[in-house]
């Protein structure tokens, strides 16, 4: 709404996956979710089951096309620039872009991880309180069967996505590591204090693991990683004068939050799977509480991942083509942007708090059941 220059510039390419997402995915999700919710007793059990599978198909399709659109902003393909705007030249290149495919698989695995950890956490919460053991031990086991492979696969996919990003957006990876100078082999800093600005390139404190950055960024322990300063010089040669360095500190920490939590989630799933395998899951009280506290982690990790990929692309809104500062609407003033951002922040904060309270209540079997209504009917 406040990106009219952007809309006009990219609509020709970016609009297509968005429109397809609406037609192919949103209709499917919205229509069949309504039918599933209200379709009990009106549809045969098989068809009723099919409606929720169609909703799932819709969400996967939706994820694919939205990531095709976003990936084009990260790594534009299948276009040419005509009269100062991008024009689509190949649908096939757009939808088969490796960037989009990596992002899609990564996102789907994140979704499955988050869902399985919510089921695991809620089940373990009930188990910890000794409620309905039969049902919730099944819930926990099912969740672990999903969580272990998807969280493991995601570590692999995530790191390969990183290697691909090194090839397509070297500046993003260099900034993510606060790696100012080109290095070979490069050590990975687990944490560091300082070293995030051009005037202060050397951290005053850091914990380094030798050769690990080379491995993470290139797949080889002796790989070369181009530093921020060389990337800046390279982009200046390509795009003219300007500062092409994203906010280093923000992407550095968002990557560490994402990857750290991703690893932690995998460990929680692995410990659970081990207990399941040794038939000790039923009595693992400490583990139940660990699983409960894991519930928010995949959400925080996913948010950090989006901060990493979007902030790491700055100053570009479309990498190499259009700068964020050139893409906004001349007609929407900063005041209105501030007001609207404030309104949405407040609205979403209020809705989030209410949602968490409701979810908490609905996960609790002790909540008072409406007395005046039969179980099947509703008390309006």
């Amino acid at each position: 709404m406040n990106w009219s220059v952007y809309s006009t510039y990219v609509g020709n390419v970016f609009g297509a996956p968005l429109a397809i997402e609406g037609l192919a995915a949103f209709f499917l999700e919205a229509t069949f979710l309504g039918l599933w919710i209200f379709g009990w007793n009106r549809l045969s059990p098989r068809i009723h089951l099919a409606t929720i599978w169609l909703v799932a198909l819709g969400t996967w399709t939706s994820a694919f096309f939205i990531l095709v659109a976003n990936s084009w902003m990260q790594h534009p393909v299948g276009y040419k620039v005509v009269n100062g705007r991008a024009e689509l030249t190949s649908v096939w290149q757009l939808v088969s872009s490796p960037f989009a495919l990596w992002a899609f698989v990564h996102t789907i695995l994140v979704g499955l991880t988050a869902a399985s950890l919510v089921v695991l956490g809620v089940s373990c919460w009930h188990l910890a309180r000794g409620r309905n053991q039969d049902l919730f031990i099944r819930g926990a086991k099912l969740a672990l069967v999903v969580a272990l492979p998807v969280s493991a696969a995601n570590l692999w996919v995530g790191s390969h996505f990183g290697i691909y990003t090194t090839e397509t957006q070297p500046m993003k990876i260099a900034s993510t590591e606060a790696q100012w100078n080109t290095c070979q082999p490069c050590s990975f800093s687990l944490i560091q204090i300082g070293g995030f600005t051009q005037s202060d390139e050397t951290p005053s404190f850091s914990i380094q693991i030798p050769d690990l950055l080379s491995f993470l960024a290139t797949g080889s322990f002796n790989g070369k990683v181009v530093g921020i300063n060389d990337s800046q010089k390279q982009e200046q040669r390509q795009f003219g004068r300007g500062n092409y360095i994203p906010p280093v500190e923000a992407v550095y920490w968002s990557m560490r939050i994402m990857a750290g939590l991703g690893t932690l989630i995998f460990l929680v799933a692995a410990v659970g799977a081990f207990l399941y395998w040794r038939k000790r899951l039923e009595r693992a009280r400490l583990y139940f509480w660990a699983a409960v506290w894991t519930i928010p982690l995949p959400f925080i990790a996913a948010l950090a991942g989006w901060v990493l990929t979007e902030v790491g692309r700055q100053p570009w809104i479309v990498y190499g083509l259009l700068r964020t500062s050139d893409a906004n609407s001349p007609s929407v003033s900063a005041t209105w942007l501030g007001i609207s951002l404030g309104i949405f922040a407040l609205l979403y904060a209020a809705l989030t708090v209410t949602d968490v309270v409701l979810l908490r209540r609905y996960a609790d079997p002790d909540r008072p059941v409406p007395t005046e209504a039969a179980p099947s009917a509703v008390s309006y």
Binding site: G11, G15, Y362
Partner: protein, 352 residues
Amino acid sequence: MTLQIFWFCLIAVLWSGYFVLEGFDFGVGMLLPFVPRGSKERGVLLESIGPVWDGNEVWLVVAAGGTFAAFPAWYGAMFSGFYLLLLLILVFLIVRAVSFEWWNKSESPRWRSFWLGANVAASFGAPFLWGVALADLLYGVPLGSDGDFTGSIGDLFSAYSVFAGIAVVCLFAFHGATFLTLRTTGELHERTTRIARMLALPGAALGAGFAIWTVAVATDRNDKSVFPPVLPAALAIVALLLAAVLVRRGTSGRAFVATALGAVLTVATLFTSLYPRVMVSSPDFGNSLTVSNAASSHYALVAITVVALILTPLVLLYQGWTYYVLRARLAGEEVVSPAEALVPPSSGSPAG
């Protein structure tokens, strides 16, 4: 050129679908404080649109997505130029969506009246603002030579655009009432019929007024002759008058078809008046956006046309089937709420 016209028509069709479908669910939302007596009847009203409002809203999302893909410059100018209107519409739509899910999640009367109130406010607010916004496309707003909006909020409100907002609200209330006469039984049915009769005259009169005013604006400000816009306008007036007559005769099904036709023809009147422009510029008429200067390249249009030709019939088919499955009238006894529906009714209380 033909593909540009095809997409202009398709976007008009998507808006028509939105007016017909979400039109009645907005209408039912507006009638919440006036029709039902007691919480059980309120439940019937919400149940009548509960399964379908979400799918109905997608018509809007796809209309916007289609505009972005087929006419990027139109999308850019409209969504930035109408920033305040769309901001408020978004807030209304978000709150309304949440109210459907949340209103019965607590027994507290304050909680319930809050969310029902939010639903009612959003059901009035969003259609009013859409009326204003769509009327502005034709009435004209200041655009620069690069097609960007150069005006201020005040340029969005004229007598015509505010009238359009009120007319759309009345039209949807009438349309929602005829929908309810189809979905209710017994005493509630009699009451919805009475309300539909009451709304018939203002709904038809304001709808007709909007159609006539639109043709006048088209000739006055958009360089159109009276024909062809007068054709859909006349048909819209006929459909709405017919709806008023049918509602008085108590033939629910036909009355609903007539109000639906009225909604489609109102959108048709507006888009016929607009063509070949998509967004009129005023006072600098020369800066207007047209189907050709706002359109995407030929290749992009071909790509999305192929997808649209395959998927649109499919969507119509399965959405139609949904309405067929949910065709039974609602008496209020066997109502299943979204919360309770999370578990098959036979297996007891949810989340147990």
